[in-house]
Structure formats: structure tokens, C-alpha cells
Amino acid sequence: MQMRVPVAEPRSPETYDLPDATGHFGPYGGTFVGETLQAALQELREAYDACRKDVAFQDELAYELEHYVGRPSPVYHAKRLSDDLGGAQIYLKREDLNHTGAHKVNNTMGQALVARRMGKPRVIAETGAGQHGVATATVAARYGMECVVYMGTEDVARQAQNVYRMKLLGATVIPVSSGSRTLKDALNEAMRDWVTNVANTFYIIGTVAGPHPYPMMVRDFNSVVGKECLVQMPALAGRQPDYVLACVGGGSNAMGIFYPYIPHAGVKLVGVEAGGLGIATGKHAATLSAGTPGVLHGNRTYLMQDADGQILETHSISAGLDYPGVGPEHAWLKDCGRASYVSVTDDEALAAFHALCRTEGIIPALESSHAVAHAMKMAPALGRDRILLVNLSGRGDKDMHTVAKASGIVF
């Protein structure tokens, strides 16, 4: 299939050009970090800007995405699932088929190339489930860079296999025992490393969060997902979808598929958050559905916080969605109404996981299962000629243990 993205896209009258020059998406985003990091962010903004305009950089990235990552990933018509549901047609964007098993590598590959251009021999990353850590360790191995991954001690215990994968790839995994000992604390620790070692170190953030330019840069690198869909959907289904759905943790796979569709006013964008045990229980990670605006990890966005403005611990069966913040661009898309955000519970995500395994022979990541679950809720109420495009952000191999445990099975 010809994967050149057409130059002239159909655009709605309002051309979307966020973030602005200072990294803001309306009131969200920005550079809320201490003075010690401002010079490093400026250096990064300049380097990234140069990469964006550099044809040689774009060509190298395209080459790596094709030959190393395995892009383009296909779009697949999940016909048996759609028929079972008896309504709208469900299409899956198969990011699970990428090298390392998720969309995360689109971003780590891009940032690793920027790091190389900047002459930084050491990369660091934060990780929750370990997927971003693995994707970072992978590209670091690919380019012979030193790699240090910060991971909360809770997650190190829950995700022992991914810890081992990172070590196999030559990375050093540093357990973080401060705060809630999970993803947000790993991010704090990675920032501290970066402040201290900024001369030789590049910080590869794993989602569309952090201070400017990260939300924009991570979105740009993941937007290859949506750009491919713009070409693939007309070829496969005869037109663009009515709805695009994606799960939202920090929001990188969702921004990746949403962003190229923003000017397509007829396409509705739906982000699916982790409802955990149910919003009413407080044990969830549905930041946009139930949180309020604040400042964390370098940007202003929606957060899960208590009455004193302290950040709350979150819960989700999928470690990759277990984050108390969300990318600032999603906060903006929610407020301006261009995207809507819903949540599905752990149980609903698990049911969707099993359904996709049995009807299509595809084992999805638990994160992605949230998006599938919402599509399964929507489809029956829509006509058979409607089209739902779901970003299947990753595969479920990493989740065998969690799913087995939820089913009462001990290996």
C-alpha cells in the first residue's frame, strides 16, 4: 500500500495549530519546572525544531519506522466482532504489531534520533508498566546509548518480566521508593536525574505530558498512527470513520491517532479512561472524567487531587493507564469539545479483552482493551453502515499474569 501522506488534506475552516509558541493549549500545558531545567528545555526545543525542518532527519525516522519498527501497521476490519455486536463496523489500528508490541516505540525511536542529533550519549526514562521502559531500552540498544530507567518499587514487583526485558536489552533499572512508588514517582525521579546530568543526558518522556516541548514532540512522533489511518481508511472502508476511539493514560496513543483527524470535523474523537472499580469508588484513573485542573510534572492539566491539592494515588487493572494526570492537549480538546472522554471499568475492559481474543484471535493489551470495551458499548446502538476506528495500542502478552490472576488462575 502507498503510504505517502497526501499533502493537501481536507481541512475544516479552523486550522488547528496548537500548542502556541510558549507550549500552551489554551490554559493548559506550559513549562512549569524550576529554573534549573529551563536552559535544558530551551536547548531541546531548538534541537527538536531543527529536526522537524530537517529532511534528512525525517527520512532517517521514516526509514527506521519502516524497517525496524515495522510500519505501517495495518488497519483490520474486525468483522466477526462487529457481526456479533450487530451494529457499527469496528476497525482496529494494529499498533500491537509494532516491534516491542505497542505504539510506544514510535515515540522512543523519534526521541532517540533527536538525542543522537544533540550528541547525548545517555538516555533516561520513567516507566509504569514497563512498556515505555522496554521501548526506550530497545532504541538505546539499537543506537549503543547508555540507558537508565526509573520505575516505582510497586511496579518493579508487579512487572518483573518487563524489568528483566529491560535488563536483557542492557538498561539499568532503578527502583523508586518515594511517594506512592509508582509511575508518577518514577517521573519525579527521572526529572531529578535530568536536572543533575543534563549535560550528557536526554530524557525520553513516555507520554504527551511533561513541560513543553514534550507534549507536542511526543504527539508529533505518535501522529504517524493517525496519518496512516487517513490513507488506510478510504482504501479499506471507502471513507473516514465516524468515530475514532483510543484509551487514555497519559494520552500518547490517543493524541497519535486523534491529531491528524482534528481538522476532519465529521470524525468524532473519543478518549477512553480507566474507570477502575468505578468512578464512585474513587479507585480509578479517569482524570478527565473526574479530575480538576492543576499543575503537575511541568504542565497545567486535569489531575486527580485531594482537597489540599495533593496528588492522589490512582487505580487501574492496566498499569499503563494508572497515572493521576493526563496530557494537556487532551485537557484542551475536552474543554473545547473537539474530543469527548468516557471511562470503562476494570471488569468491562477484561470482558472486552476476552471477547477480542475469542472472536478475532487478537490478544490486546489491557490498556487497549478499554478502547475496545467502549467501542463494544457503542456499536450495537449504531447502524451497520457506521464505522468505529479503534487504536489497538498494544498487545496483551505482558498482561498474561494480570488476566490469569483476575480469572483466579495461578501458573
Binding site: V33, E35, T36, Q38, K184, R192, T292, G294, G309
Partner: protein, 273 residues
């Protein structure tokens, strides 16, 4: 004249640098905060920086992180800290108190409401680590309306343009972070700090304090030769961590007295310099 300006004027006349201890409010518990303020002031603090604990203290090293965790576990919150300052003000109307913390607790209270409550409590200055000048328009305005000084940071990596940006917005004093890294990192190079201070002073008349990495009275004395204020943070917080809760204020005070002696010894160095 504000308490901060009056303090720096008085010290300048005596050719002395201000001694500025940092402690986390509510560490080890909120019940100890007033006693801590008393002990620090009795042992020579010219200004006190009171940390507002936050769940995600990204710019702090392990020592101050643990202090935040202790304070939060003990139930410390921003409103409670403002109440403690208000109570302390009844016995000390002279020593400037500067709150130092992260944006989210303040935004959650609302910056306008925070500014008026802080004013009512007798807070003199506020430093929000993750409010760089470019994100601080509304913040500086809210504080100005309440007569509170916005304190900003400068770092070894700050460009001339950023020094100017900070100088335009900062009041009270500017806090020069003497290290790359987080609070509590290794020792500092005094010669480097002196060079950078000269660069800053060439561009602003606002007093400049130095902090991060000052761990002993000798270093404090060396810095006091050329800085307007010497901030002692992690070293005091360590002392609090090691002490029995009821002994924490006394031990922090005793340690501060050693730094006081170091800084006073610098009066002669300054006169000679």
C-alpha cells in the same frame, strides 16, 4: 517598607549576610511548627523559609522529599500552615517568613484567595519552584495586590536574558541555586558561585541569596563574603529527621547557631574584601 526589605537594609548597614534556614512546615508534625520557628529565630535566623509539603516534590532531593512525606502523613496542609504563621506573628512581627513550595496546592486554593489569606497571616514572600517567570504573570499580580514579594530562582545555567526576565519580576530577594541538581546535592564550588553572583549583580539591584549545597559553617562563611543571604536547607532538615520529634526544634536551633557563628565571622571578611 516590607519586612524583607527592612531586614536586608538593616543587614547591609551592618555588612552582614542574612542567615536563612529552610524547614518543611509540619515536619515532624504540624504541632511542632511554631516551636521550630521560635528556635530558628532565637538562634539567629534573619528570614525563615517555610516549605509547603507536596506529594510530588520534583525539584527536591531525598532529604526534603522525606520531610514532605513526614509532614503530609502528619496531616499538614496549606491552610494549616497559613494559620501557624498567623499564630506565630502574634509574638514576632519582625522576622520575614517566606513560603516555598509547588504550584498545585496554591492553585487548588486559588491564587487570589491564597494571596489574601497569606497577607492576613503575615507571610512576606512566596517562592513557587515550578512557577518560572514566563508562567507567573497572574501570580505576580495577585501577590502584588497583597503586598507579598514573589521570590524567583536563578541557576548556573541561567542566560543573561533569563537573569533580566527574573530581575524584572522579582521582589524581596532572588534565590540563586548554586548547583545543577536537586536540593541536598553535593558540595558547591564557591569560586563558581562568586563569578555567577557578579554576573547577576551586574543586572539587578534586588538582593541575591545563595542556597543548595551549603552544608557546613565554613562554606556558609565563604558564601557570606559576597552573597546577601545564605540559605541552609537539607542540612537542617537532616537534623530534624534524626531527632526525636520533641527534640527536633532544639537540635535544629543548635545547628543553626553554628551557621550563625560562621556567617558572623564573615563580617570581617566582607569589610576586608
Amino acid at each position: 517598607m516590607s519586612r524583607i526589605a527592612a531586614t536586608f537594609e538593616r543587614l547591609r548597614a551592618g555588612r552582614r549576610a542574612a542567615l536563612v534556614p529552610f524547614v518543611t512546615a509540619g515536619d515532624p508534625t504540624p504541632a511542632h511548627t511554631i516551636a521550630m520557628l521560635r528556635a530558628l529565630v532565637a538562634n539567629g535566623a534573619d528570614v525563615v523559609e517555610l516549605g509547603v509539603p507536596f506529594s510530588d516534590p520534583m525539584a527536591d532531593g531525598p532529604t526534603i522529599q522525606r520531610a514532605s512525606e513526614r509532614a503530609l502523613r502528619a496531616g499538614t496542609g496549606l491552610a494549616m500552615i497559613l494559620d501557624a504563621v498567623k499564630q506565630y506573628r502574634r509574638e514576632d512581627d519582625r522576622t520575614p517568613i517566606v513560603l516555598m513550595g509547588y504550584a498545585n496546592p496554591v492553585e487548588h486554593m486559588g491564587i487570589a484567595s491564597f494571596a489574601s489569606r497569606a497577607k492576613d497571616s503575615g507571610v512576606d514572600g512566596v517562592l513557587i519552584v515550578d512557577y518560572p517567570p514566563e508562567e507567573s504573570g497572574a501570580w505576580v499580580q495577585a501577590l502584588a495586590g497583597a503586598g507579598i514579594d514573589p521570590i524567583f530562582l536563578l541557576a548556573p545555567t541561567s542566560s543573561e536574558a533569563r537573569i533580566d526576565l527574573v530581575s524584572r519580576m522579582a521582589k524581596g530577594y532572588i534565590y540563586y541555586v548554586s548547583l545543577k541538581g536537586v536540593t541536598g546535592s553535593a558540595h558547591i564550588d564557591t569560586a563558581d558561585v562568586e563569578r555567577m553572583l557578579a554576573r547577576i549583580r551586574a543586572r539587578t539591584a534586588v538582593p541575591v541569596g545563595v542556597g543548595f549545597g551549603i552544608r557546613d559553617p565554613q562554606t556558609a562563611r565563604a558564601i557570606a563574603r559576597f552573597a546577601d543571604a545564605v540559605v541552609i536547607g537539607s542540612r537542617i532538615v537532616e537534623e530534624i529527621e534524626r531527632a526525636e520529634p520533641d527534640q527536633a526544634a532544639a537540635r535544629a536551633g543548635a545547628l543553626l547557631a553554628e551557621f550563625r557563628a560562621g556567617i558572623d565571622a564573615a563580617v570581617g571578611d566582607r569589610a576586608a574584601a
